[in-house]
């Protein structure tokens, strides 16, 4: 893919994002609301919140991403833009890959900006911020790329919850490793191994999922 083509794609994605009438705010609001509901619903003793905080942060984060994933391909599929992009692109796999990356960045940055707020609401020490940020970024990319592939495979399926129901079980290892990062960093232990594991998983998903997306789209376009 040429650099000029890439620049055009990134500009196009940014323009769509900035014109989305605040759609990007919905995942952010869901993330904050889930955290708020947990904090008001649980006994306000600090240690209870702290015990549950890692799982709460991860579940809220991944559920919020599900909202953003809903728009990954569907709008462009329905208005015919997606098939024309695939038809006329000289490197459709790269096109899909870059689109997944740029949409992931645009979706997680607002969520990650809310992370300090979530940490303080759950009465966790601010020392967990950086390890949590790295783990959420790497883990969410695995989740995002798997979700993008499943979205591509289910483009023609009209059952709205199907993609979510298929995707959430795949999130189990991400939540296990990701929650451990937050738990261990709160106790002052080293988490570099766990973070590297998540980074490795995200690289693996990056190398496999574009093929699945492309195949899924071709199947749905036929």
């Amino acid at each position: 893919m040429l650099l000029s083509e890439l620049k055009t794609l990134y500009k196009l994605e940014w323009r769509q994002f900035s014109r989305s009438q605040g759609q990007w705010l919905f995942p952010v609001m869901l993330f904050i609301l889930v955290i708020v509901l947990f904090t008001v619903g649980i006994d306000p003793e600090a240690h209870r919140l702290q015990q549950m905080a890692p799982a709460v942060i991860w579940c809220a984060f991944l559920l919020s991403l599900l909202l953003a994933l809903d728009h990954m391909w569907r709008d462009d599929y329905q208005n015919g833009v997606l098939e024309q992009m695939l038809l006329h692109s000289e490197s459709p796999l790269q096109l899909l890959l870059h689109r997944v990356v740029v949409r992931w960045v645009l979706s997680i940055v607002p969520l990650l900006l809310c992370l300090p707020l979530a940490i303080s609401m759950l009465q966790m020490p601010m020392t967990i911020f950086m390890p949590s940020l790295l783990a959420l970024a790497a883990g969410s990319f695995v989740f995002w790329s798997l979700g993008s592939a499943l979205s591509a495979l289910t483009l023609n399926d009209r059952r709205p919850a199907l993609m979510s129901l298929l995707l959430l079980p795949m999130a189990v290892p991400i939540v296990i490793f990701g929650s451990r990062v937050i738990k261990q960093s709160a106790m002052g232990e080293s988490v570099s191994g766990l973070v590297l594991m998540l980074v490795g998983l995200s690289i693996l998903s990056l190398s496999i999922t574009p093929w699945i997306m492309f195949a899924g789209m071709r199947l749905n376009l036929d």
Binding site: E5, T8, R15, V81, L87, H88, D222
Partner: protein
Amino acid sequence: MYSLEAKNLSKWRDHYCVFTDVSFSLNSGESLWIRGDNGAGKTSLIRILAGLSKANDGELLWNNESFLADNSSYQGALHYLSHQQTLIPHLTVLESIQLLFPMLGAKAASDISLSLNDVGLAGFEQHKVQNLSAGQKQRLSLLRLLLRNKPLWILDEPQSHLDREGQAWLFDTIERHISNKGMVIIISHAKDLPLTHVKSLDL
């Protein structure tokens, strides 16, 4: 000079036969008008020709060589406009030309005002696509054809939503393309097409 030949194409969906044994040949400077009732398989055929779908049987030859869906020389030679308008509602007309069209096989326009003048959209640069009429959206969509010179145009009901003046402009543009040794495959429900050198294929 280019040539496209279809030999005994057939398409099934589940156990239902959409069409069978469709054959035609097309050379530079010719156009093919695909006709048929609703559900006759016109769009299915045109999507096979565009490389978006696969025939269950038969063969396609581009310049006498067998065509596969990933044949880059064939893909690089065609412009396919579907019956959808292929536009993003939130973008302006100008952004569509500068950002969307280059991703859809057209070049960025060197002279945008001239291009917009061609399709009768001069002065609409900053209008959002969602605020254009259906006919104006169709004109904008058709502008892609003019922004990169590709020999084979595959058009699915291109005159829909266009007024009389727009249709005259469209067929004039197609005619010019054919006279410049281009090829056009067109689906149309019109009773007659104002084109010379047009072959017809009934499904």
